[in-house]
């Protein structure tokens, strides 16, 4: 019931949302990450996401699996885009459904936080003044704990 992918094409959030949900589920949550026009006070014109594709696909599948197991019978789908993105374009879409809303919120938040901690994806911002820079990220832990922690 769960799915995940690293893609180069634009993401359609409605399509990701349509991957999940069932008659047992009272709550569905869609998280959409979008390239915004500023970061740390600088005006951003666009970004490029690089990736270690084979590993990223595997890590994203693990994160989705962990979230699904933690949230009682959750249906989970996550897609991360890589390559060149313009302001307003979707970088990540995460959909979760679950019988009750608490688990769905928890699983949704878990996935985006774990993506930021350990998905091998890097972001280079292109600023309006022509400069570029790699976004300061997080150093992945060598043994990520496979449990869902508090929000």
């Amino acid at each position: 019931m769960s799915s995940s992918a690293i893609v180069k094409e634009p993401i359609d959030p409605a399509y990701v949302l349509a991957q999940i949900g069932s008659d047992q589920d009272g709550a569905s949550i869609l998280f959409v990450g979008v390239v915004r026009d500023h970061n740390d006070g600088r005006s951003v014109g666009g970004v490029r996401y690089d990736t270690y594709e084979e590993m990223a696909a595997q890590v994203l599948a693990e994160i989705v699996d962990e979230a699904g197991r933690s949230a009682n019978t959750a249906r989970v789908a996550a897609v991360h885009r890589v390559g060149e993105l313009k302001v307003g374009e979707v970088s990540v879409a995460i959909a979760v459904s679950s019988p009750h809303r608490a688990e769905a919120y928890h699983a949704s938040r878990y996935i985006i936080e774990e993506i930021k901690k350990r998905l091998p994806v890097w972001k280079k911002e292109r600023y309006s003044d022509g400069a570029e820079g790699w976004v300061e990220g997080q150093t992945p832990d060598p043994a990520p704990a496979p449990h869902v922690d508090g929000s």
Binding site: D50, A56, V92
Partner: protein, 81 residues
């Protein structure tokens, strides 16, 4: 033994390459690989002494032993999402 070593993002830009084949003595660890790279001098000395590393696509401790044919990636701080 021979280790396929991968560089991404800022490391790739720094070194001007995304991949190197590194020869190491048997029994070498992840740390030994990083030391061997840094000892090449030039841009290599700018690599962290203990970067995050994935061996065969799994995050691994610096003390882990390497095996011939391993794919080792040096992972700059990640920034997905």
């Amino acid at each position: 033994m021979e280790i396929r070593t991968l560089f991404f993002a800022s490391y790739k830009e720094l070194l001007g390459t995304g991949e190197l084949c590194v020869h190491l003595p048997d029994g070498a660890t992840v740390s030994d690989l990083v030391s061997a790279l840094r000892s090449r001098g030039g841009a290599f000395t700018v690599l962290p002494t203990a970067p995050a590393v994935a061996v065969n696509r799994t995050y691994t401790h610096p003390s882990s032993l390497l095996n011939d044919g391993d794919e080792v990636a040096l992972i700059p701080p990640v920034a997905g999402g």
